[in-house]
Subunit: 234 residues, 2 copies
């Protein structure tokens, strides 16, 4: 019978991954470790829905989660991916708003839930943590600003190339240069902000141009330099 050993320990987590919790005192960390509620969730499961109040946030011990907004005609716009060590859902707690995104498991995940009151208490009592968290939000804001500029000014072709490179930096390649995140064509389209068919056509163009190789959802990155050029990154 599996039990306690399944629940990840915060102490181990902050050693293995860089997390926001690295500046906590031993006591604070122990408190979180005691209070948190962990659960294993399978691909496809929705962790929270947008326009809801969430009374805590999640820390990802394993797996991948996509955060997205639902726009016109229910078309989803993917805003961000979270992987192990990342936290999700904290924005709406801190801004005291409803969540502006939904979160869905893309790759089976172990999620640890920490209550809003704990988060607020940490921010109030540990100024190093507050600064660290502030830094995180500000970085995300900077990235969002970049993305606004890209979507507003670049062509779909440029954006798709750029997204492939961003995914590469975020999720690495395996020894065969295969991107370590599995997305449907539709999900790719929902990051880039285009139609599924456009993604399909452009991906096969990239393939003919020997920049990538395709095998179902596996995307092999062959020529980073060429992709960078297509993406129009200086």
């Amino acid at each position: 019978m599996k039990n306690v050993s399944d629940i990840p320990s915060c102490e181990e987590c902050i050693i293995k991954f860089p997390t926001i919790f690295k500046h906590l005192t031993a006591d604070e960390l122990a408190e979180i470790n005691y209070e948190k509620k962990c659960s294993f969730q399978k691909r496809g499961n929705v962790i929270f829905h947008e326009n809801n109040r969430i009374n805590g946030f999640y820390c990802l011990n394993k797996g991948i989660v996509k955060q997205y907004k639902t726009g016109i005609d229910g078309k989803e716009q993917i805003i961000r991916f979270a992987k192990r060590g990342d936290i999700i859902g904290y924005r709406s707690i801190l801004s005291n708003e409803l969540s502006c995104t939904s979160a869905k498991v893309i790759e089976d995940a172990m999620l640890c839930f920490i209550s809003a009151s704990t988060l607020i208490a940490l921010v109030k009592n540990n100024s190093n943590f507050a600064l660290e968290l502030m830094q995180l939000v500000c970085k995300e804001l900077g990235e969002a600003n970049n993305y606004i500029t890209d979507i507003a000014q670049k062509s779909v072709r440029e954006r798709l190339a750029e997204v492939l490179l961003l995914l590469k930096n975020n999720f690495e390649l395996d020894k065969d240069h295969v991107l370590q995140i599995s997305l449907t064509r539709e999900e790719l389209a929902n990051i880039v902000g285009t139609a599924t068919e456009s993604v399909i056509r452009l991906l096969s163009e990239f393939k003919s141009d020997k920049m990538i190789d395709l095998d179902g959802r596996k995307i092999k990155i062959l020529d980073i330099h060429a992709l960078t050029k297509v993406a129009n990154i200086y």
Copy 2:
């Protein structure tokens, strides 16, 4: 001879406008009031350039400032406007990065400069201020996420209508329903993320449809309901 009376007092400012400083202690406020360096800057003046390190941030006592990124071929993408009571340039300080935007005066402004070290000290020492600031950044992030979804999914026509409504909410109308911010057609295009010519054509369409009226840069909002419909806001 004008002198001290020209320098705005922080105490007055927080009474007149809602600012981030409202949770400071009397001592902290006095400290800022003493330390700050204020300057009057005319339309067109660039306050800071992107990709630079800024060693402080600005609080706007009067006027309007646009924050923008420079994208492909130097085309600017306007990210945000700041008006009296707003602060600009704090993101890069908190995230310890280079500034990701430039800031330019659009309407003659009185700007107060506060050093980065003061900001960091306040965050460390005053947890209410830290929370307030966190809330501000998180709201901005939420708005950025919304805008990403809009640009990715809506047509230029929808976005222009939406931008007009956003500007209305931000800068109000005078008694004749004229928008209280003066922008060139190009600037409007750089918010929406489109070509100047497209903005011109769509604006005159909106005018024919009796939703707005135009007189040079003055935009009169005639039919908010119709604009909302065009903007596809639910």
